[in-house]
Symmetry: C2
Subunit: 313 residues, 2 copies
């Protein structure tokens, strides 16, 4: 019987899940609401529901389910699958033991941080396939990161590595919700892009963006950017310059073979990614960029559950 691997990505809005073959082929996928508003107990129930559905899907297809992996926000102690660090998107999630949650199923279950899962999917089967030293980042509501060295994830001494969004970007700058000042995420994540676009729209009379008022989201900003709206061009270009500088900074520190950009903003389009690339290249040393590849993530919104499935491959 053919083997398959289950993957579950616990997001703030949806739980995405599916079955993966050992060579990275998507065999089935689905998503259900996370229901964060109903509390942590409801989230746990929904996770188990997703696990049951995976088990049934495998059975129906006549496949051997070789394990289930779960990607979770926050810091996850990989060996135990224990969530030890806070995840602002799912209140009350610290202390949950992912492996124990599934213990009734007598199946191998592993849990890891969601950004680590994304990196695993991309390095094993996606944009980073075949590389040994890579930096993987996601830009969305937050900014996450993961580092692969010699083909393995660098999880860190206490499984807390990869907090790219919380590296220093502007010393003495804005106070962020973490209480610290000047972190990258405060300047370059999606909410900051929206604020900057709104500000820019005020300065360009007739900008398309003015019509959205409080409903402005990155999707409309990128549409206006592609249409050449000057406010959107200003805001997106500055965002790309910031993200690119921060990437160039990591390139100087790690000198990776590849940088893979994922998350919601990575769907901003090739022109946006090209602006990021240029900014990264100009900030980094030539000796570190001569053979550097900067790519967008291959798996988009599926990277999380695919990477979670990879935990068992």
């Amino acid at each position: 019987m053919k083997k398959c691997y289950g993957g579950i990505d616990l997001g703030g809005t949806f739980i995405k899940a599916g079955l993966l073959s050992s060579d990275g082929e998507v065999m089935a996928k689905f998503k259900i609401p996370t229901a964060v508003d109903s509390g942590a107990a409801a989230v746990r129930e929904n996770l188990i529901r997703a696990g049951l559905r995976i088990i049934n899907m495998a059975k129906k297809r006549g496949l051997v389910l070789a394990g289930i992996g779960v990607g979770s926000p926050g810091t996850v102690r990989y060996p135990e699958g224990l969530v030890t660090g806070s995840s602002p998107n799912i209140p009350g999630w610290v202390g949950v033991n992912i492996r124990r949650l599934f213990s009734r199923f007598s199946i191998t279950v592993r849990g890891d941080n969601d950004a680590n899962c994304m990196a695993l999917a991309e390095s094993k089967f996606g944009a980073g396939k075949g590389t040994r030293l890579g930096f993987y980042l996601t830009i969305g509501t937050g900014i996450g990161g993961a580092i692969v060295v010699e083909g393995s994830l660098v999880r860190g001494a206490s499984f807390a590595a990869g907090e790219f969004g919380h590296t220093i970007f502007r010393y003495g700058g804005k106070k962020y919700k973490t209480g610290r000042r000047g972190q990258l995420e405060a300047y370059a994540a999606a909410p900051a892009l929206v604020s900057q676009a709104r500000l820019a729209a005020g300065g360009f009379k007739g900008s398309i963006l003015t019509k959205y008022a409080d409903n402005l989201s990155p999707r409309e900003i990128f549409e206006a950017f592609r249409a050449g709206d000057p406010a959107a061009v200003a805001a997106v270009s500055e965002n790309a310059r910031m993200i690119g500088t921060a990437i160039g900074s990591v390139v100087n520190l790690l000198n990776p073979e590849i940088v893979v950009i994922g998350g919601g903003l990575s769907a901003g389009g090739s022109e946006y990614i090209e602006l990021i690339r240029k900014s990264a290249i100009s900030f980094a040393f030539e000796s570190a960029t001569s053979s550097l590849k900067i790519k967008t993530a291959r798996f988009g919104n599926d990277a999380g559950w695919i990477g979670a499935a990879c935990l068992n491959i």
Copy 2:
């Protein structure tokens, strides 16, 4: 016959060298001037002279010389020992092949970047001994860094990793000599500390520092700091806050077990290091600092040649 390992550290002012036992014991050491002002050819001659002296010292002591390692500024392609990246302190040094330089000696010779050598010495026999994931930095005229993962140096895809001084610190800030803006080194290396101290001295009438005029160096600043001079206290505290923030930033990214601080400024004293530690801890996430150790380098000015010797151990 007992084995020994030769190490050479090529500095901007001195070539430091010595013999190391396989368990990290210093068996002999010496230093000679680098003579940078006489040109790259003279530097090459002096390196060879240091190599010859190592060979003779081993012979005189009845030891088997199992190899010579050389730490050089700039980017060094480790497998070939080829200097590929510029080193502002030794003009004309790019293109030198360290292994070929010593080919007449029929002995194993390896060359690596000097910050990598420092990290190797500290992780093998010094402050980082027994740890698997460490971040090593040197603060002096410049700021360098090196990363050890699973006990091995992360040299980078093109051997250019570790440029901690050229990570982003203040986006949109000062233009540095590299042509980029806002890099850490422009704010927190020794020359910046001296400028800040001079500026602070102007604001505190009667500061000890005013008497040094153009001859002010970190040594006098740290002396005045320990004596409680308010200008020196202000400048050193701010420098420690900046270095600490940058370390905390790397801690969020890498979550190392240990951070080891070396280089000239690390001799600033325990109170200075404690200020750095506090700032690092307050910028980094608790999940990444719960078991973090921050230590000063054990080998001080000898770390370079000791680490170079370690290349063959």
